[in-house]
Point group: C2
Chain length 254, copies 2
């Protein structure tokens, strides 16, 4: 069930990323070949090359300057990603941490089925509809980094699996995996809000830091392709060890 018919754009992206990783453009001072040349080299149209470069630019890998050329963003290699990858990609923290070379572990604290209650609004269900709540801590090198509570409507699980909900959800290292493996649902997009809060006593215990330390709170709702809420998440990141990174561009023209 691993349908693949990899679009040219993505192949081009992978080629370019590999070239950059290999330091292919170092001797040219970070200058990539022109779009026309890349098109020829990869035997694709210039539009396809441009599509690939646009996506690479959107994630900050590359910088384009009209009339000049395309350059690799050397800042990124000098300053290894904060949580940029997670930030832009929308997938589990565990995967994000892995892809930045850390070695995360998941500590499952709780997996229960209970009434939606306060999160019913976000999930667009009734307050007493059952949701699967999973609480976990993600550590790296033995130190806790992230505390995460996710709530998924029980109804997403096929009826025959609902009795095993706790077992199944508790066995997954991320909600993304759970949805993928057991609910046959994929996350289409996610809406998050980022705030700064203080660690309360409970959270301080869990994150192994003092109470009243600053931490980043990320509240998010994931939606399926048909815009149904898939899960609600409330995550806290240790303020001293985690930060997000973002690249922005002005679009307005004078």
């Amino acid at each position: 069930m691993v349908r693949r018919n990899v679009p040219l754009v993505e192949q081009v992206i992978l080629e370019l990323l590999a070239d950059i990783d290999r330091g292919e453009f170092v001797r040219s001072n970070g200058v990539l070949p022109s779009e026309a040349e890349l098109a020829q080299r990869f035997s694709v149209s210039r539009a396809t090359v441009r599509d690939a470069l646009s996506r690479l630019e959107a994630t900050g890998v590359v910088i384009r300057r009209q009339g000049v050329g395309t350059f690799v963003n050397q800042f990124l290699s000098k300053h290894p990603a904060a949580l940029q990858d997670w930030f832009e990609e929308a997938h589990g923290f565990v995967d994000a941490l892995r892809s930045m070379g850390r070695n995360p572990e998941v500590l499952m604290l709780r997996a229960v089925v209970e009434p939606a209650g306060e999160v019913s609004d976000h999930l667009q269900v009734a307050p007493d509809d059952p949701v699967i709540v999973v609480e976990k801590i993600i550590t790296s090198a033995g130190a806790p980094l992230i505390h995460s509570v996710n709530a998924t409507p029980l109804s997403l699980l096929p009826p025959e699996n609902q009795p095993r909900a706790v077992e199944l959800a508790g066995g997954c290292e991320s909600t993304f995996r759970f949805l993928d493996d057991y609910c046959r649902s994929r996350v289409h997009h996610q809406q998050s809000e980022i705030r700064a809060v203080l660690t309360g006593e409970k959270l301080a215990l869990l994150l192994a830091c003092r109470a009243s330390e600053p931490c980043l709170q990320v509240e998010e709702v994931a939606y399926s392709v048909d815009l149904a809420p898939l899960f609600y998440g409330l995550n806290h990141f240790r303020g001293d060890t985690v930060s997000f990174r973002q690249i922005r561009r002005p679009s307005a023209r004078g």
Copy 2:
């Protein structure tokens, strides 16, 4: 000197935004016309329509579903923007706040020329090269929201204006304006890092909140089109009244 030759894509974007604001697609339940129909309606190619829709999707205004259609993201109208606009656009806070209907005011605290010191690394200048430091507070409805310190290399200012640096910089409501008006430099992109910190005593005073409250810290460096650092900024947002919003999409395919 207001060159304009507005690209079709941007015109299409503006038309669509206006339509959405006007509630044009409400009766159709948020469904936009198909790309082909929009192309015909605006008398542009489908590629141009797709470009416009892609950019609207990237900022979360619209959601596209293959095989189904394009929809306005009704979540956004229900929950008015946090600081999403600033977050994605890279321009001054003041503009961002204005565009979300608030009425920000700028309180200039300090404008001085001094050695770069600690920020010399970020600005790629020598530690004793002079920079213009501007410290200000942005308030809305009388309450302070943001404390901001920006450092710009003095060398960006044309030599004849350097003696007036303090006066000029102190008179601008945002560093973007200052760069635009007096340095003939534009921001090409910005790299920011977001952390959670505590308000120290000084910051608490300035933001009119208690010390040891959580707040969001955004540290950023802006680069010109030729990748020269334009300014370094260290900003603090009151944790209780400001949050960022972000929309993410997974790109990996199973």
